[in-house]
Every structure is written in structure tokens, then in C-alpha cells.
């Protein structure tokens, strides 16, 4: 019996289709202890992610989305449970789980090129020659259309451009999982749409696994294969996982009237504003 290819992966090269154990978040709890106060941020989070999948995590402020991403990145450690990447436990940060930070986090004293090159040198310092590393750096800058600004410093380019460089830096590490922490949150709507399209194109070309945190329902539906919806904290967990069965490549304008798109959009909105409304006025 030959299993048919999954429709959503027809444009990408996916080495192991249906391998649900590529990245596994296994009964993860996270409790922060500050002095005598303990806060349970995440409680019993379970998620299995396929290779090549694009996952969005959506939820209200303070629901522990960023904490979950930091756990996968290894920037914080789990209290109970485990994060497994290719059956290896994640307990420290590393370039195999590159992060695109919300506020770009480029080093302001390095040029655009040097910011990416630092990552390339660090990850491929032993494997590639100097010429190869230069070519690799330029290739990644080309990929995000930032090669023209290679000698500029971060303070000399716009917010959207900084985020592009941040993405190039993360991609340059050739990560197994690309982690995006509200990558377009600080950008204006036009720049955001532009960058979302770029990320979709890059994802189609490289077929990398990506996990993105977002506040934006449209962004989540447009980009993702699955949307992970978090309940409100404290002790947040995954409330629902929504499959987005839209064929790729997806075009922004066609989506406006696409019934599947609208269905997904409504499902996420209902989850966020009906079943898990943020009652807390502090939000």
C-alpha cells in the first residue's frame, strides 16, 4: 500500500513525511520560583511536530507562549517533562534551534554582514573554508533581499530590514527548527505583510521546520500548517490544535474569500474571544 503524499507538502522537499516525533514536547511543566513566590506558567504541555511543519502558537498575553518557545530554544529549562528534538533531550541553547527574536537582537556594533557572518563562523567555522563561509553569508542575505545593505549597521536600516537580517542570521545557522518569537510584532502592517510573504517563500524553498509565536490571527492562518492555541495562564496548556488545510503556495489576496481560510480564522477567533476570553483587566 502506497500512502499518497500529503497535499500540503507537495511544494516542499520533506525527507520523512508523517514523522511526528521530529520535535516532541512531552508533558512539559514550567514553574518559575522567585523568592517565596512560585508561578506555574505552563502545565502539561504536549505537542508533536513533524519535520518541515510550520506551527504557530497563539494565545493571549501572559499565556506562556514565549516561555514555551524559550523552552524549545533551551534558553530556560523545563521543570517537569522534556523537549525532545530527534529523540535527543533539549537542555541548552544551540544553533540547531535558531531563534528570530522579536526585537531583532542584532549586535549594533557589527554590520549587517558581520552579524550574519558571526553566526556562520561559529556554526561552520570548522566545516567550511573562508570563501565558502563568505558565499554562505551572502546567500542568506540574498535570500532575505538584504545583500545590498551588507555594510550598513543595524541603526542605519529600518525595522523591517533589521528583522530580515535577524531571519538571515537564524537561517545561516541551518537550524533543524527555526523559532520565531513574534517576528513581525514590532512592524507596521505593510512591512509585516511583505515579510510574511518572504517567510512563506523561504519556507517553501528550504522546507525547514518552524515554530512561530504570534498575536495575529490572520498571520497564524496564512503561514501555518497547524495553529496551536494556548489557554490563559497561569498554568496554561494547549487548548486546541487547528489544522490549516490550505494548499501552498498561498496568496494573501485569494485568502480573503477562501472558505477554508475563513473557517480557520473563525475557529481561532472563537477560541480566543469566546471560550478563552481574557477576563483579567490587567491585559
Amino acid at each position: 500500500m502506497i500512502a499518497p503524499l500529503e497535499p500540503k507538502s507537495h511544494t516542499r522537499l520533506v525527507p520523512m513525511i508523517g514523522d511526528k516525533s521530529f520535535l516532541k514536547i512531552d508533558h512539559v511543566d514550567k514553574t518559575f520560583v522567585r523568592g517565596s513566590a512560585t508561578t506555574e506558567v505552563l502545565s502539561d504541555v504536549n505537542l508533536a511536530i513533524e519535520r518541515g511543519e510550520y506551527i504557530s502558537i497563539i494565545g493571549h498575553s501572559g499565556c506562556g507562549k514565549s516561555t514555551l518557545l524559550n523552552l524549545i530554544a533551551g534558553l530556560t529549562t523545563v521543570t517537569r517533562g522534556a523537549v525532545l528534538l530527534e529523540n535527543q533531550e533539549v537542555n541548552a541553547p544551540g544553533p540547531d534551534r535558531a531563534v528570530v527574536f522579536q526585537n531583532h537582537s542584532l549586535l549594533p556594533w557589527l554590520t549587517v554582514y558581520d552579524n550574519v557572518r558571526l553566526a556562520v563562523d561559529k556554526v561552520f567555522g570548522r566545516m567550511k573554508s573562508k570563501v565558502e563561509r563568505h558565499a554562505w553569508t551572502m546567500e542568506k542575505l540574498d535570500l532575505v533581499q538584504m545583500a545590498h545593505a551588507r555594510d550598513k549597521r543595524p541603526s542605519e536600516i529600518s525595522g523591517g530590514m533589521k528583522q530580515r537580517v535577524g531571519i538571515a542570521r537564524a537561517l545561516a545557522m541551518e537550524p533543524k527548527v527555526l523559532l520565531l518569537d513574534e517576528p513581525f510584532g514590532a512592524l507596521d502592517a505593510l512591512t509585516r505583510a511583505h515579510l510574511q510573504d518572504s517567510v512563506m517563500q523561504i519556507h517553501a524553498r528550504l522546507g525547514n521546520t518552524a515554530i512561530m509565536i504570534t498575536h495575529d490571527v490572520d498571520e497564524a492562518v496564512l503561514l501555518s500548517d497547524r495553529i496551536v492555541m494556548m489557554t490563559n495562564g497561569p498554568a496554561a496548556h494547549i487548548g486546541e490544535v487547528l489544522e490549516v488545510n490550505l494548499p501552498r503556495p498561498r496568496h494573501r489576496l485569494e485568502m480573503a474569500t477562501n472558505p477554508e481560510y475563513l473557517r480557520c480564522r473563525e475557529a481561532v477567533l472563537r477560541f480566543l474571544y469566546e471560550r478563552h476570553r481574557l477576563v483579567d483587566t490587567a491585559a
Binding site: 530554544a73 533551551g74 534558553l75 541548552a92 541553547p93 544551540g94 544553533p95 534551534r97 535558531a98 531563534v99 527574536f101 526585537n103 537582537s105 549586535l107 549594533p108 556594533w109 557589527l110 558571526l118 553566526a119 561559529k122 556554526v123 549597521r153 543595524p154 541603526s155 545557522m173 505593510l190 511583505h194
Partner: protein
């Protein structure tokens, strides 16, 4: 991006007829006029910065002249200083013997000590500051000690260093070192403590080792703080060297003042004071300038 490109297109079309309509003579005539006004502006700005201090200095000299021109005056007036110490002012680099050299050479000798002492203080201070800034336990252990030691006046270290080194030259350098190091340590530590979490996360994701982290993240990120410390440090060094040389002797500018005092050459002392002030000012500006160049990226990021 494409929006901006579209928007910029019609502009040349709208501007072109106007430019074509206006005769070439106008545009050619306008350009030199603009350049002229720019030069004028620069000259005006130059005078605006140079004239006020010159006026103030001239007024001070006048007041000083009147105050000290009486026959019973104990301090020399500017005209008397000019008459008595003309050679020191006009020839900073004469050499008449091992102890009779121009003030330029004396300042150079003092500067050499400052450079060695301050250089050591910067290197050791940045390293210690990095240690203190990075480790909670090092802060808890070392910070109280630093806070006590930094209040000790520079000259109070001199007897101990003379006893330890048994020679005046290294003692003077040690006094500079111990004077300059505290602001460097403290400012570096603050800078290191203030490295944004973002940069630390980047370093963690890239798995930078300690040496790479020190050079690629810590030093550039803390550079503005470090240079503040260095600037305070060089100022203190220059304060301390004069006092230290008065006691240790030798060729430096400090000893020159002491020597002049002993032989009642008050005019020479005044000239030496001006030398010290100018050199101190230049040192401060020099470190500030290096800091400005070195922290170009960080400061504007």
C-alpha cells in the same frame, strides 16, 4: 518598497519643467552663493566658539595684572611671568643638562609614567570589572573591598609602594595604577551587568565560548561604560602624577614645580600649571575621542 518607488517616479517629471524653464545662469549663480554662505557659516561658528573663551582669558589676565602689579604683591603678574619665564614658554624642548630641560620634556616624562600606569590600570581594570560584573559571588566578595580601597587618596599609597618597590620610578607608576583602576573596574562592572538579555541570548544560541563572549559581546556592549571609566581614570592619573612626582623627584613636571618652589621661581610654577592644565585637557579629550570612535556602533544602536 514598491510603494516608495512608485511615489518617487512622478517627482522628476514635475520638477523637470521648472528646472528647464529657469535659465542656467540662475542655477550656476546660485551654487557659489550657497558655498559662500556655507563658508561664512563655518567662519561664524568658529568665531562663536573661539571668541568667548579668548575674551574671558583676556579679562582674567587684565584682572590678574591689576591685582598683582603692586610692589608688595606676593604673586607674579602676567607681565612679570612673561619677562622671567619667557624661555620656558617659547622653548618647551631645550636641553641644557640632565636636570635642566624644557617643560615639554618634563611633561613627556610624566606622560610616560601615566601611559604605563594608566595602561596597566585599563587592562587590569577591564578584566577585573568583567569578572565583578559577570559573577554574583565575585561582586559580593570584591565590591566592598573595592569600595573601601577606592576612597584611599593616591598619595597615601606612596609610602607603601616606595617600601615595596624600593625605587621612585615604579612607585610613581604604581600610584597612577592604583588611582586610575577603581573607576575603570566599577564602570566596566556596571557596563557588563547592563548587557541586554537579547545579546546574551544571541550568544547562548550561537554557543559562544568565554573568550568569544568576552571579545564579541561583553567588550563592545560595555564599551560606552568602559570609556566613561577610562576617562575618569586618565583625569585622576594626571592629578596623581604631579603630586607623586613632587615627592619622588626625577625629571617630571611635578618635581619641576617642587624644585621651582624651593628656588622661589614663582613665575616658572605658573607656567608649569598652565602646561599641566592644557595636557590634562588634551588627555581627557583624547580618551573621549577614542571612545567616540570605538563606540560608534553601540552608542547609536
Amino acid at each position: 518598497m514598491s510603494v516608495a518607488a512608485l511615489r518617487s517616479e512622478p517627482q522628476p517629471a514635475a520638477v523637470a519643467p521648472v528646472a528647464r524653464g529657469a535659465s542656467n545662469v540662475v542655477t550656476i549663480a546660485r551654487k557659489p552663493a550657497r558655498r559662500d554662505s556655507r563658508i561664512k557659516q563655518k567662519i561664524a561658528a568658529f568665531f562663536a566658539t573661539v571668541v568667548p573663551p579668548l575674551v574671558v582669558v583676556a579679562m582674567m589676565l587684565l584682572v590678574w595684572e591689576f591685582a598683582c602689579s603692586g610692589p608688595k604683591s606676593s604673586l607674579p603678574a602676567p607681565t612679570r611671568i612673561w619677562a622671567e619665564s619667557q624661555d620656558l614658554i617659547l622653548q618647551p624642548f631645550f636641553v641644557n643638562g640632565p636636570q635642566d630641560v624644557g617643560l615639554g620634556w618634563r611633561v613627556a616624562t610624566s606622560l610616560e609614567r601615566v601611559v604605563i600606569g594608566f595602561g596597566l590600570a585599563s587592562v587590569v581594570g577591564v578584566l577585573l570589572g568583567a569578572l565583578v560584573g559577570q559573577s554574583v559571588w565575585a561582586t559580593r566578595g570584591l565590591d566592598p573591598v573595592f569600595q573601601v580601597l577606592r576612597t584611599v587618596p593616591p598619595l597615601a599609597w606612596l609610602p607603601i609602594s616606595l617600601a615595596a618597590f624600593r625605587d621612585s620610578a615604579p612607585s610613581a607608576i604604581f600610584v597612577i595604577f592604583i588611582t586610575a583602576i577603581w573607576p575603570v573596574i566599577i564602570n566596566t562592572a556596571v557596563g557588563i551587568r547592563n548587557i541586554p538579555q537579547d545579546y546574551q541570548n544571541v550568544a547562548k544560541v550561537l554557543r559562544l565560548n568565554h573568550i568569544e563572549y568576552f571579545w564579541r559581546i561583553m567588550i563592545p556592549s560595555a564599551a560606552p561604560y568602559i570609556f566613561t571609566g577610562l576617562r575618569i581614570g586618565i583625569g585622576l592619573s594626571w592629578l596623581a602624577i604631579v603630586a607623586a612626582e613632587m615627592l619622588t623627584g626625577g625629571v617630571g613636571i611635578g618635581f619641576f614645580i617642587w624644585d621651582a618652589w624651593n628656588s622661589s621661581k614663582l613665575s616658572d610654577i605658573v607656567v608649569a600649571l598652565i602646561y599641566i592644565g592644557v595636557v590634562g585637557f588634551v588627555l581627557d579629550r583624547l580618551v573621549a575621542l577614542i571612545g567616540q570612535i570605538a563606540t560608534r556602533g553601540t552608542a547609536s544602536g
